[in-house]
Amino acid sequence: MLNGKLSRKRRGYIGLMRALMYAFAALTCALVLFLIAYVLVKGVPNISWELLSTSPSYLTERIGILPDILNTVYIVIATLLIVLPLGVGAAIYLTEYAKNKRVVAVIEYAAETLSGIPSIIYGLVGMLFFCQFLGMQTSLLAGALTLVIMNLPTIMRTTQESLKTVPQSYREGAFGLGAGKWRVIRTVVLPGCVDGIITGCILSVGRILGESAALLFTAGFAHALNGIFEGLTSAGATLTVALYVYAKEQGEFGAAFAIAAILMGLTLVINLAAALTQRYFRRKKAL
């Protein structure tokens, strides 16, 4: 190229920027690798069948995270069951029914605001509203409802995006055949946005797994082994909350790192699932 004709100043600039770019990219790489390696090295040796399948016992000084695993499952199920109708319904309203631009703008701004609020404020308001005002006390259900509000914007956004990809001609065709609006939605639109709903679910599960501040005040940190129905109405720690309690409140770092390693693995699985789902549906839609 024209390298020979470059002035000293330009060469200096290029050299500096290049150096910074490679240096910082390498730094990021190193940080990422260190974090992953540290957690895995300290955590995986502590993962045993005993850890995964028992509850903690004071009499035998044993730590088990089975209650936390179950609590996490319960809360994910409860949250998804409630947030899906709400979120998908809101998205359908925005794309199919809303005619007034102002209303659409207000709802979308509200959703954006919700997604920016820090989780500790959700925990606080959740505790005030669900636990005290509605009398649910510290329970997984109160925690689930708080998580519902937190994940509403995510589900709305992904559902909306996939609703927009349903060609208008499908709808017009159905209308032309005499179908009412609800029937059109049920048979034409909803099946078309299944991919958005699934992606939204996967993203929400990821977010729920990572949530601790919102659940600390609303769902507490008990370790009782419960079936799904009692579990929802009593306090319980999810995996992430248990990690915090074991690390900060009890100094049991073996268990804490084991949970961290498990969570890291779960995050990887979720990212993979989201990527695969998107690829699958993109291929399907391209047909």
Partner: protein, 269 residues
């Protein structure tokens, strides 16, 4: 249609499986909330009670003494746990205390610290900031790092009232549980902290106070002065549920004394 029905069946089966996961709860629940120092004691008691009464579910929320007292006042739990006696305002609010056990507050330092004995006045001077370097009390030449508990802690209340340092302690870190204090002190060679004797692990060294080593016997006969009661808090005038009352009677009985001692505290009965 077929797809929906099969999905529904799978869903119902999954929920049924999950519902069967837990302890059969036909015997009621007893919920406790409060002191983190009492964790080992109440945890052991709850566990042995559940072992003998298979239908009862016992829960314990480690939130701190102040929080536990609030929880029982607001009706959010059956029995509140406090590692200090109730204040007059709290008793005036209609709360009743029952002493379960006595626990020493160990003054802990890092195992690498050469100091092993301090007098009560020295401890008070350290925490108010009058003595700032370990070398003034026979240790290394290093600044003393003061670790303490959050303001609502029963352990902090007990420590500060016995050493006479209320509102005067200059903490470097204010942590929210006994376990956290132990962890922090075990990681910093110049740190000093206070924690429930029942929870002290090998990762830290407990100092003797005025020549008296903290142990169950010295707490019992009072020669180890830094101690406080483990107290069960209930609402005056409101009867506990049947399950909670039975649990209450069990843990205050002489049969439970052995479990309490094994957990590191001194049973009151």
């Amino acid at each position: 249609m077929k797809k929906i029905i099969s999905l529904l069946i799978i869903g119902v089966m999954a929920v049924a499986m999950l519902a069967g996961c837990g302890v059969k709860n036909s015997g009621g629940t007893v919920s406790t909330d409060g002191s983190t120092s009492m964790e080992k004691v109440i945890g052991a008691l709850g566990e042995s009670y559940m072992a003998e009464n298979k239908n009862v579910i016992f829960t314990y929320n480690p939130t701190g003494s102040g929080s536990g007292i609030k929880a029982v006042l607001e009706g959010r739990c059956d029995i509140g746990l406090s590692s200090r006696s109730l204040k007059d305002e709290e008793k005036a609010n209609g709360l009743k205390e029952t002493v379960l056990a006595y626990d020493g507050i160990a003054i802990i330092v890092n195992p690498a610290n050469p100091v092993s004995d301090l007098s009560l006045e020295q401890i008070a001077s350290i925490y108010t900031g009058d003595i700032t370097n370990w070398k003034d009390i026979g240790g290394n030449d290093a600044k003393i790092v003061l670790i303490g508990r959050e303001a609502g802690s029963g352990t902090r209340d007990g420590f500060e009232s016995i050493t006479g340092t209320e509102d005067a302690c200059k903490y470097r870190q204010e942590l929210t549980s006994t376990g956290d204090v132990i962890t922090t002190v075990s990681q910093n060679p110049d740190a000093i902290g206070y924690a429930s004797l029942a929870s002290v692990k090998d990762s830290v060294k407990a100092l003797s106070v005025g020549g008296v080593n903290p142990s169950e016997s010295t707490v019992k006969d009072g020669s180890y002065v830094i101690q406080r009661p483990f107290v069960l808090v209930t609402k005056e005038g409101t009867a506990l549920s049947e399950t909670a009352q039975k649990f209450f009677d069990y843990i205050t009985s002489a049969d439970a004394a052995g479990i309490i001692s094994a957990a590191g505290a001194v049973a009151a009965n």
